[in-house]
């Protein structure tokens, strides 16, 4: 056990690097294509809403970012759990890479929601349960990033960050069910509910395209960040130095916008 574990770690980091190098260029272009399609569809072809007029078009960026803010946190928490239980280092690196991206999606969800709230609710901000729990999510991402920056010793750093991440998971169901538990301002779910979505297909399709595009964009950015982190940690390892001398590493760092 003790003999093959370090080897297994090395192999998985290396495997992860090779795998990412192969899919990153493709992933970049596919992501761009899907995002542009979703954007064009949502802005040009989707019909005007009978109640909210054109302002509803913020949905195509607001809802996918809000979903991603929670999805990224769940991925980060999953990685943290695996890292704590099996000590697979690549999981720690992937969680590290996810934090700034998740924080960005949370920020976009909050900002676009605010810009949608002003014309529709008459206010940029209220201490509504959904809005407040999403703001807490932003602070959780910041907290995770700050804690990582504050601890220098690598082993303690990974464990402490993973624990904090797992504690923060409590907030995710609170965000999701906040619109049912507290009857404040934010509307309940239209799509992620047991019954059929209460949104017309002509609006649902671009929304799902944007959500798919955001998911792929997240993967693209997280893979690239993790690759950077692998180089940082494995800088003296034989496989990396061999790859460098064979000049087989993508120096451009993938494609995309």
């Amino acid at each position: 056990m003790r003999i093959w574990l370090p080897l297994q770690r090395l192999v998985s980091a290396r495997y992860f690097f090779e795998f990412s190098s192969r899919i990153l260029p493709w992933l970049g272009w596919v992501t761009l294509l899907i995002l542009l399609t979703g954007l064009g569809w949502g802005l040009f072809y989707a019909p005007t809403d009978y109640q909210q007029g054109e302002s509803y078009r913020i949905i195509f960026i607001h809802v996918p970012s809000a979903w991603m803010s929670m999805f990224a946190y769940m991925v980060m928490a999953g990685c943290s759990a695996i890292f704590l239980i099996w000590r697979i280092r690549i999981m720690d690196l992937f969680a590290t890479s996810t934090a700034p991206i998740g924080a960005s999606f949370t920020l976009i969800a909050l900002a676009t929601g605010s810009l949608w709230g002003r014309p529709m609710w008459g206010t940029y901000w209220v201490w509504d349960a959904r809005l407040t729990s999403e703001l807490i999510l932003l602070f959780l991402y910041f907290g995770v990033m700050a804690l990582r920056a504050a601890i220098d010793e690598p082993r303690r750093q990974g464990r402490a960050v993973a624990l904090l991440t797992l504690l923060g998971v409590v907030n995710i169901p609170v965000i999701h069910f906040s619109v049912e538990w507290w009857n404040t301002l934010h509307q309940p779910a239209s799509i992620t509910k047991a019954a059929a979505p209460s949104i017309h297909l002509s609006m649902l399709i671009p929304l799902l395209l944007m959500a798919l595009g955001f998911t792929l964009l997240y993967l693209y950015m997280a893979l690239q960040r993790t690759q950077g982190a692998i180089i940082e940690q494995e800088i003296d390892s034989t496989w990396l130095q061999e790859r460098l001398s064979n000049n087989t590493i993508e120096t451009e760092g993938g494609t995309g916008k």
């Binding site: 302002s55 690239q224 916008k257």
Partner: protein, 52 residues
């Protein structure tokens, strides 16, 4: 075209929302790539050091 940009009077809100999303995501893509390139450059410099 003007009508499209106007977004039924909600243009300022809609375009600010898309603008913020675009800027934040573009900054993310760039910072991910910059980090990768920085580490790669560091590793290449390290290899050249060890060769000489």
């Amino acid at each position: 075209m003007i009508e499209f940009l106007n977004m039924g009077g909600y243009g300022a809100y809609v375009w600010s929302a898309y603008g913020i999303g675009f800027v934040v995501l573009l900054a993310n893509v760039r910072s991910a790539r910059a980090y990768y390139r920085k580490q790669l450059a560091r590793a290449i410099a390290r290899r050249q050091d060890s060769n000489t």
